[in-house]
Amino acid sequence: MAKITFLEAIAQAQHEEMARDDSVFLMGEDVSGNVYGSSGGLLEEFGPQRVLDTPICESGFTGVAIGAAMVGMRPIVDYTIASFMYLATDQLVSMAAKSSYMYGGQTHIPAVFRAAMFYNGGIAAQHSDRNYSMFMNVPGLKIVVPSSPYDAKGLLKSAIRDDDPVLIFEDGNLWGQRGEVPGEEYLLPFGQANVLKVGSDVTIVAIAARVGESVKAAERLAKEGITAEVIDPRTLVPLDTHTILESVAKTGRLLVVDQGHRTCGAAGEIAAVVAEQGFWDLQAPIKRLTAPDMQIPFSTALEQGFYPDAGMIATAARELVKE
């Protein structure tokens, strides 16, 4: 199997789906220029109509995508950075998420909204958002957080074929990471978690780039005789609660690791689900490891330590196992 980067996997998925289905097109600021590397070759192959550069107007072009979807197109919107979704929140919530429901199924919005998260890069408060949790609170959206090139490709292809609005949050810290991706076509279903490590002492549920850190932590813990089960939900909506609960039934301990803010974040949701449905299996308090409820500073001297890394994860897991 070829080893390609996360970004190349995204590019491949877009390429394949655009070749397969004429109604798929890409839009966003500077997409034809392939500034970040996820749209390379698309302009040459599909032309400027299907690789559509937009003016800088996130709220407007999100509405454009929704309108196009209503008449049968399948837009992929690239926001480049997740922070810019705030400008498009009205269209994402009031229109994309609600149209199918409020029109009683007369329409549906098969659109994909891609956004990269560039936290941990000295890019300061206005560009470092990891805001999937806010959108998890909105019924009608599906939320995808791939953690590897393989997942990115398979989940993005599924998202493009999905008939509902799908938000894909790409972890910028993974963009350059390489991983094996098969040559043959494959799709990954929504709502099926990936168990990366099997273990019986503690369950670690991790999101996006925290998955890799958790695997590293699990490897360190293994040397100490602690076996951690590492679960990547892959999609946060729908959430594979079954796999998580089964794991907790076995381990009795849950650590949730998330680079997002804590309050009302994805980690809290997962914790709440287990506190409700897996309570009798728990042998210790649930623990969340998240970014602080703080805005993101520019200086590396300040930002370092903001996001849970392998060391912090291992420490937290060790403490949990002791309880």
């Binding site: 107007c57 407007g60 995508a65 309108g67 209503m70 009683g104 199924g105 007369q106």
Partner: protein, 331 residues
Amino acid sequence: MNSVSESLQLEMYRRMGLIRHFDQAVQKLFNSGRIPGSTHLSIGQEGEVVGACMALREDDYMVGNHRSHGHPIGKGAGVNALMAEILGKATGVNQGKGGSMHLADFSVGSLGESSIVGSGLPVAVGAALGSKMQGNDRVTLCFFGDGASNQGYFHESMNMAALWKLPVVFLCENNGYGVTTPNRRAAALEDISARAAGYGTPSTIVDGQQCLAVYDAVTEAVERARGGDGPTLVEAKTYRYHHHSEGPLYDNMTYRPDEELAAWKLRDPLLLFRQQLAGYLGAAELDKIEEQAQAEIAGALEFAELSPFPEPEEGYTHLYRTPIAVYGGEL
């Protein structure tokens, strides 16, 4: 105008009548407490609604807003399912999920009525983009109010439509007010159409009470759009006889002078239509049409009344086209 066939004129008059009677029926229902939420009537604006919609082809698209009972009717929607929707019935066009502020009928190209002021504008541009990409020659008509024209959506949508020369017609229903705020206290210039110049887009101001004048202006705009020459901004000066929405909220409000309302009523769009056609179409003929419209609305009302409410389980459908498991209350 003389090019407008007699049958088309009759149909225009019929739809204006349908809208007037539809909204009058809704008002009664609302006053008797039968309609939850809030409802916005377009009585007084029927001329521009019908004139604009009838300039479209049947397979063209139309986007409305919160004041959109009339828009789908103008576009040719059947009134039964619309009335049933207003009463929250299972037979409603949205199966009771949307109600007064979302009276869309996709089967006639009515692409949704979003009640978030201004939010329909980019959606209309998107539909036009879709048509262009699909290589068909459909045009999208977008209704929005004077108040909506101050949203950023207006600017972004005008710019993209003009830049990409998309087949869209922007129809500003300038009824002088957004809720209680007069347009002159919300927009720097009273003529919204003045803004078109910033995008190199043609624009025109038209008397919204004259159905045929609106029809002509929009027909020209539709031709331009269909011919690949991009958008036009048509500003129809009009007036709503009712307050912003039904109910007691606006009783005794003095944001607009009584004389203003009275003056506009003298220029009622149905009245003006009759005057304009006098001699050419007989009064008896027009009376008959209006009576038929009234009867059709009475029928819709009966249909709606007799229809069942949706079962509670129906509240949990249609969220997704490809359903996923979600937390569903007590179900």
